[in-house]
């Protein structure tokens, strides 16, 4: 056989085989590319969002919405919140009001105050900071301040309102975070509404000391609420 013929017999398939294979692979890739809808795959990826926990009952959401609305927290206002009387906002019985917050046991801190005082000690400040830093996907931070039943009702109402304000002031000083004006809702209860029972002594408190019903109500209950409003 002629040497040129030998070369041709070998060269042609040596060149054509890879050409045809590569052409085939490319053709299949193009078919798949045209058949694919990349946006469909994107639709399957979760989108970053705020939390919406199971404890967000309609009642709790209703209260959060009222407080947030009254404080100008909704709609991107962020004008900052003045403490509000919980009784007028909640429109619930004492027991129902407290029951709404029971699921927050792991999220909440109870900031304790000395009797007749609005200043926070070091442990109380640390507890507030810890609670604030644990925002995760929550949208609203509630401060619900109380007073023990000692003394006059009007005095205790002002005392609890001042305690709520103290917590807010500390957050502003410590974090200088513009979100504080957008996300913090303040409520005060005074002595006449939704007093905490002794069972709340078992929650995370700023003081590890002995706890009575009076002690636990000289407090501000702080927690992020994982509800999307």
């Amino acid at each position: 056989m002629n040497d040129v013929a030998r070369r041709g017999i070998l060269a042609v398939p040596a060149l054509l085989a890879p050409l045809m294979m590569v052409g085939g692979w490319l053709g299949h890739a193009e078919q798949r590319l045209k058949a694919n809808d990349p946006s469909a795959a994107e639709a399957e990826v979760a989108i970053a969002s705020v939390s919406e926990d199971a404890y967000c009952t309609p009642k709790l959401k209703s209260i959060v919405r009222r407080v947030a609305g009254a404080c100008g927290l909704l709609g991107g206002g962020g004008r900052g919140c003045q403490p509000m009387q919980a009784k007028s906002v909640a429109q619930l019985s004492d027991e129902d009001f407290n029951a709404l917050f029971v699921p927050l046991e792991q999220r909440a801190q109870i900031i304790q105050f000395d009797a007749d005082q609005t200043e926070m000690d070091g442990a109380a400040r640390a507890a507030v900071e810890k609670a604030w830093a644990d925002q995760r996907g929550a949208s609203f931070f509630f401060v619900v301040a109380r007073a023990s039943p000692d003394g006059k009702t009007e005095y205790n109402e002002k005392l609890s309102a001042d305690r709520a304000q103290t917590v807010l002031s500390h957050l502003q000083t410590r974090f200088n975070d513009p979100d504080i004006a957008r996300q913090v809702g303040l409520l005060w209860l005074g002595e006449g509404f939704a007093q905490l029972g002794e069972e709340f002594c078992g929650w995370q408190r700023s003081r590890g000391t002995e706890c009575t019903v009076k002690d636990i109500n000289r407090s501000a209950f702080v927690a992020w609420i994982d509800c999307a409003i």
Binding site: P38, I47, A48, A133, R136, G137, R174
Partner: protein, 453 residues
């Protein structure tokens, strides 16, 4: 006693015994046989050496070995090319990653995937989506070598110049194997077993060709056509490479739209009110980019390497938003995909801009160790961060640091980003996911030219 070379040839059996003993001179006594030999040679340029002065050694054996190695090289290079081409549909596919022919493809992470996605797997990436795979050229070269080796094995009687050309030609894949083996080991840090098959077959084709060359004795008369023959060989080899490249570029899949350069979505609140963006590589005058990343995410590290290797990073004014896929701080993931990422993110947000970049580099460099350590004992990782970067020790773990991580995550919420990393925003426009690996250079180049809106 040495045998004549003809004894190794098929054509020798077609000739009278006297020709075997007498070489060309003896053939003159048998005119018919001489004509037959002339037909076999075809012409003076390509036919067997009429002097047959290279002794009687079984030169076909090393040529056959080299031929088989070249065919095997075609198989490995073809497999690698097919795997690469499959990804031109912008999807993720299983890869063949075994030296065993016919072994099943694997969908998970492998050395082959790391190498394929590395910037070294293809060329001209800025001009064509994915570029031209090196494996395609390897396929062309092996096909050419298989043809040349097959021809000499079949015909026999190779001249020294022909064998010399084969040695030179097989040096190319050997050289490329050396370079790519080094890059895979030193730069990519992964071994691609299909590539290893290419390296081995490259070596065998070279050794077979070299052995054949050494077995052929020098002709007493100079080979006047050696240079021309070498030139024809080079031209043929280049022709193989050119033909395959041409077909590849002609049939390269076209998405049919400009989704890539136009991007996939835009930031709605790009501002950094909370001061959570980290400087990655600030380039005054560069295109503003924001990368959403997790310091312990292997895909982010690989993306960073690809971006650097592309050379386009010098045109980007890069900042990053940390998005640790670690459930200890990120409520959007149920499992910690990258345990310890929250701690490293805290450290970066505690640090100065320059130091944050150092921490990111350290986290990328030690990713596997940090992930393993955090999975076993997260506080131990925090202690390691404090000892490694004492300047952040007072901040790490504090409410302020944790709050910054939350703010970082909430930046992603505000922009309704997909829960994934990495993501790159070029002037506020998101680079599509399918363009973050093989198509990065192509798409980013176009986005930088003004495609990004």
């Amino acid at each position: 006693m040495a045998r004549r070379f003809d004894e190794d040839l098929d054509l020798a059996s077609e000739r009278p015994d006297a020709e075997r003993d007498g070489g060309r001179g003896a053939a003159n006594d048998f005119p018919d046989a001489d004509r037959s030999a002339d037909r076999d040679r075809g012409d003076d340029l390509d036919g067997p050496d009429p002097d047959l002065s290279f002794g009687a050694k079984p030169v076909r054996v090393p040529l056959a070995v080299a031929f088989v190695a070249a065919v095997a090289g075609c198989f490995f290079a073809g497999t690698s090319t097919a795997d690469f081409v499959a990804h031109l549909d912008r999807q993720v596919h299983a890869l063949h990653c075994s030296v065993v022919p016919g072994a099943k493809a694997q969908i998970g992470e492998s050395g082959c995937r790391a190498v394929m996605l590395s910037p070294y797997s293809s060329w001209f990436r800025e001009s064509y989506w994915g570029g031209i795979p090196v494996a395609l050229w390897a396929l062309a070269v092996f096909a050419f070598l298989a043809y040349r080796l097959g021809h000499l094995t079949w015909r026999g009687q190779p001249r020294r110049s022909e064998a010399g050309f084969l040695v030179a030609a097989t040096l190319l894949p050997v050289l490329m194997s050396g370079i790519y083996g080094y890059l895979a080991y030193a730069q990519v840090g992964a071994i691609c077993t299909v590539c290893a098959g290419i390296y081995v077959t490259s070596g065998l084709t070279f050794l077979g060709s070299l052995a054949a060359l050494l077995m052929i004795e020098r002709s007493p008369t100079p080979d006047v056509h050696a240079v021309r023959r070498f030139g024809v060989g080079v031209a043929e080899g280049c022709g193989f490479v050119f033909a395959l490249s041409l077909v590849y570029l002609a049939w390269l899949p076209d998405a049919g739209g400009e989704r890539g350069p136009a991007g996939c979505g835009a930031l709605v609140q790009p501002e950094d009110e909370a001061g959570i963006m980290v400087d990655v590589a600030r380039v005054p005058g560069g295109k503003p980019t924001i990368e959403v990343l997790d310091p312990l995410c292997p895909a982010c590290r690989a993306f960073d390497a690809r971006l650097t290797a592309s050379g386009l990073d010098v045109k980007l004014d890069q900042r990053a938003v940390l998005f640790p896929l670690d459930s200890s701080c990120n409520w959007m993931v149920t499992d910690s995909l990258h345990p310890g990422a929250c701690a490293v993110s805290e450290a970066m947000l505690c640090a100065s801009p320059a130091q944050a970049k150092v921490i990111l580099g350290w986290a990328f460099a030690n990713q596997e160790a940090l992930l393993a350590e955090a999975k076993a004992d997260e506080p131990k990782l925090r202690a390691r961060l404090k000892s490694q970067f004492p300047e952040v020790a007072g901040c790490l773990g504090t409410p302020v640091a944790k709050n910054k991580v939350v703010k970082s995550l909430r930046w992603a919420v505000a922009n309704a980003l997909p829960v994934m990393t990495p993501q790159l925003f070029v002037d506020g426009t998101r680079l599509c996911d399918e363009d973050t690996d093989l198509g990065l250079d192509y798409t980013l180049t176009r986005m930088l030219q003004g495609g990004a809106r």
